[in-house]
Every structure is written in structure tokens, then in C-alpha cells.
């Protein structure tokens, strides 16, 4: 079973994909910092938005895919921005913060989907991010795929023996699956740690 659910398009060969991971990371951070510190200006936001859209088109990643990624992360942005509604001049401020954060998020979505994760980790390592954090990120990325496959297998196994689908039943067996996933993940963590020790991890 080959899962592509995270890095579906990060291995394409477009002009954007070909730019070095370090350059892209630095440029993305620069864009974000500029957006955050520059005085609010709708013309500026529009320009940034158009620029990002051009980059997104050049990356040859399907627009729907990027949009879905963005929408998936949007609740966090809107949640944080909605705090502005409780301040004086709340509505314009809310619009500003939401637009600004969405643009930042879009920058990161483009960066993450045009750069293989292992290269991003390499950039972080060279930027002296603490080794423990990089190891944690690397392990998390690696085992997200394994967990995804494991949960898909368990879902199939459950579905193939489910004969009556009432809501109550479905929820109950869902909780079993989630509990099982936790237990299996804990067991796997032990075995992975043993495998790391076997090759000299300290």
C-alpha cells in the first residue's frame, strides 16, 4: 500500500520545485516577516496575494489541492483572528488580521508542498535547530504514514465484519479503533527505540 497523503506533490519538477530548499525557506520567512511588520495596506495584500497565486500556478500543483490544504488550516487563523472582534474597530481589524495570516499560511503551504520534507529538515539542521527537535520531526513524519496505513487496515478489518451500521455502533467501534491505535503506537515506539539502540543511538 503506497500512501501519498502528505507529500503528494512535493516531488514534482516545476521551476518552483527546482529552487533550493534553503533559498525557498529564507524567502518564505522574509515574505512572512514583511507581511507581519509592514503597516496594513490593502493594496499591499492584493499584491502579495497575486504574487503568491503566480507562484502557486508556476508550481503546477492542482489549485484544488492547495485550496483544500489552506481551508484545513484556516480554522486556526479565523479562531485567533476572531479575538479582534471583541476590540474597538473590531470588524476591519478582524479582516486585516485574517487576510494577513491567510497570506502567511498560503506562503507556508506553497513552501511545504514544493519541497520534500527531508530537505526541509536538512535546512533546519543547518540552521542549528536543536537535534532533538529535528529527530522528533523526522520520526513524526516517517510514522504518520505507517499510522495512516495501520488505521486504514483496521478500518477495513472492522468494515468487513460490520453487518449493521447504526450510528451508535459505528461510534463505539470507532473508539475501539482509536484506542487500539494508541496501544499499537506505544508498542511500536518501543520497537523503534530498540531498533535505534541496536544501531548505536545514545
Amino acid at each position: 500500500m503506497h500512501t501519498h497523503f502528505l507529500d503528494t506533490y512535493s516531488h514534482l519538477d516545476s521551476p518552483i520545485h527546482r529552487v533550493g530548499a534553503a533559498t525557498k525557506t529564507i524567502l518564505s520567512i522574509a515574505v512572512i516577516v514583511t507581511l507581519v511588520v509592514s503597516p496594513p495596506s490593502w493594496i499591499g495584500y492584493a499584491a502579495a496575494g497575486i504574487g503568491l497565486l503566480i507562484l502557486a500556478t508556476a508550481s503546477q500543483i492542482p489549485a484544488m489541492f492547495l485550496l483544500k490544504r489552506l481551508i484545513m488550516l484556516e480554522p486556526f487563523v479565523l479562531g485567533a483572528a476572531s479575538l479582534a472582534l471583541f476590540q474597538p474597530h473590531g470588524v476591519p481589524r478582524f479582516a486585516q488580521i485574517a487576510t494577513r495570516s491567510t497570506l502567511c499560511l498560503f506562503t507556508l503551504v506553497i513552501l511545504a508542498n514544493t519541497t520534500p520534507f527531508s530537505e526541509l529538515l536538512h535546512v533546519l539542521r543547518r540552521a542549528r535547530m536543536p537535534a532533538l527537535m529535528i529527530t522528533t520531526l523526522a520520526l513524526m513524519y516517517r510514522y504518520l504514514f505507517v499510522l495512516k496505513e495501520e488505521s486504514a487496515r483496521m478500518r477495513n478489518a472492522r468494515a468487513s465484519r460490520t453487518f449493521t451500521t447504526t450510528n451508535r455502533h459505528a461510534w463505539r467501534s470507532m473508539t475501539t479503533v482509536i484506542a487500539q491505535l494508541f496501544i499499537r503506537a506505544a508498542g511500536r515506539a518501543d520497537r523503534v527505540y530498540a531498533a535505534m539502540c541496536a544501531r548505536g543511538w545514545k
Partner: protein, 254 residues
């Protein structure tokens, strides 16, 4: 000559569990290829974990494990793990890095290999297992057979004197299994293979040790042991078809 592996009266029980190993003793000479055979839960994997120093030497373990004449203890674990390479049964447990390159480089990096030699070593290790050019692949995009060979490459890259393999042929298709057997046959280092793929054990190992219920039941030349139909059946195994003088009808096994 000092034996490569010497296990003496090893006794072990997992925390809150019944005894997993009971007074296990055996010796493996340098350069030998030895098969550990036995049913599920016989203690084969537990023995391999002990040989790699993975099970802490606490009150649960009694007896001695010597690698190259050195008794395994907390102090020399680094040395032991450098000498002894373990290929785990489940490739996904062993391939924990985001790329094949990172994974194979993991061991040598821990053992302090200079960065400029890593790239060569990874390339050579991949070539040894017939996976040239796989450096930048992600483990989750490999087939089962490829994963298994990357695991082997990652352990071989540490240049161990003793190679331990836990069920190396499980879940492989015939071609993947054949490739792996040929790879293992081509090695000259000491190998200890735990498996119930008895045809594979017969092809690779000159000597076999039969485990059951955490005990060593028998040891001797592979051919003699595996041809002993009564011994095999008594311990949840079957004579490999290529050895059975008196092939049992499949229904007689039920």
C-alpha cells in the same frame, strides 16, 4: 579460539510475564551461519534481543552472554552493538528515517564516521543489496522486499562482525525471498537467523538450534535435525519438503 557468541545458562522473564528463556546455552563460532528454529513464542526473538544487549541486565535476567569473549554489561553496550548487527522482523520498525540515505547513514553516524565518507558508504551498502540509486527514496514508497533489503543495508553499513536476523523472509514474495537468501549466502560474517522458514534455514545454515517454550531442545547439523520428523512435529514444525523421506500426507498433519 574464542567463540563469536557464547550464551551460558541464560534465563529471562519479561516484566510481569512468565519465563521467556529457561537456562539457554549455546555457542556459535566465528564465520558460522546458525539457524534458530522453533514455533511462535519459543524465545527466538528474545535470544536475538539479548545478543544485541537490548534487554536491560536487571533482575529479570540471569546467566551470561559473551560476544567475542566479552560479557555483555551496561558498560560495553556501545562496543557490543558495534560488533553485533540486528535486522528486525518488521521493516517499518527499523526504517525510522525520512529517506533511505538517512536511514543507512544512521548507524555509521552514531559510530562517528566522518561525514565525507558517509556518502560513499551508503552508496556501497545499497549496491551490496542491489538497490543502487535508492538514496533519496522515502521508506513509505518502497515495496516489502525493498524495505527488507534497505534494513539489511543499514545494518551492513555498520560493518558488524555478527549479523542477527529475525524472520528475514517473512512476508516476502518468492522473488524477494530468493534475492534475500542469495544476499545472505554471499556474506562471510557470522550469521544467526531466527525463522520458521525451514527451507531457507536448510539452504543457509550448517547448524541449527531448536527452541520451544524458552528452552533449547536440540542442536546439531541442520540436515539431521530438520529431517527428524518426530522432533519437528513435537515442536510445532514440519520437515522441509526437500528433506522429507516419507512425505506426510497433508491431512495427516491436522
Amino acid at each position: 579460539m574464542t567463540p563469536a557468541v557464547n550464551v551460558n545458562e541464560l534465563h529471562y522473564h519479561y516484566p510481569n510475564g512468565p519465563a521467556a528463556l529457561r537456562r539457554v546455552s549455546f555457542t556459535v563460532q566465528a564465520g558460522e551461519c546458525v539457524g534458530l528454529v522453533g514455533p511462535n513464542g519459543a524465545g527466538k526473538s528474545t535470544v536475538l534481543a539479548h545478543l544485541n544487549g537490548l534487554l536491560p541486565d536487571n533482575a529479570n535476567a540471569k546467566g551470561q552472554v559473551m560476544i567475542d569473549g566479552e560479557m555483555i554489561c551496561k558498560k560495553n553496550l556501545d562496543l557490543i552493538r558495534k560488533k553485533v548487527g540486528l535486522v528486525f522482523q518488521e521493516p517499518d520498525d527499523q526504517l525510522f528515517c525520512p529517506t533511505v540515505f538517512e536511514d543507512i547513514a544512521f548507524g555509521p553516524r552514531q559510530f562517528g564516521l566522518p561525514v565525507d565518507r558517509l556518502e560513499n558508504l551508503v552508496r556501497e551498502s545499497l549496491a551490496r543489496v542491489g538497490l543502487d540509486g535508492f538514496e533519496s527514496r522515502a521508506p513509505h514508497h518502497l515495496s516489502g522486499g525493498e524495505k527488507r533489503r534497505v534494513c539489511l543495508a543499514g545494518v551492513l553499513a555498520c560493518e558488524p562482525d555478527i549479523l542477527l536476523l529475525d524472520e528475514p523472509t517473512s512476508n516476502l514474495d518468492p522473488r524477494g525471498r530468493r534475492q534475500l537468501i542469495e544476499l545472505l549466502a554471499g556474506l562471510t560474517i557470522t550469521r544467526i537467523i531466527a525463522s520458521h522458514d525451514l527451507e531457507m534455514i536448510l539452504q543457509l545454515c550448517s547448524r541449527a538450534i531448536v527452541f520451544d517454550g524458552g528452552r533449547v531442545i536440540a542442536q546439531g547439523p541442520t540436515r539431521d535435525l530438520l529431517a527428524d520428523a518426530d522432533l519437528m512435529r513435537a515442536h510445532g514444525l514440519e520437515c522441509p519438503a526437500s528433506l522429507a523421506r516419507d512425505p506426510v500426507a497433508p491431512e495427516a498433519l491436522l
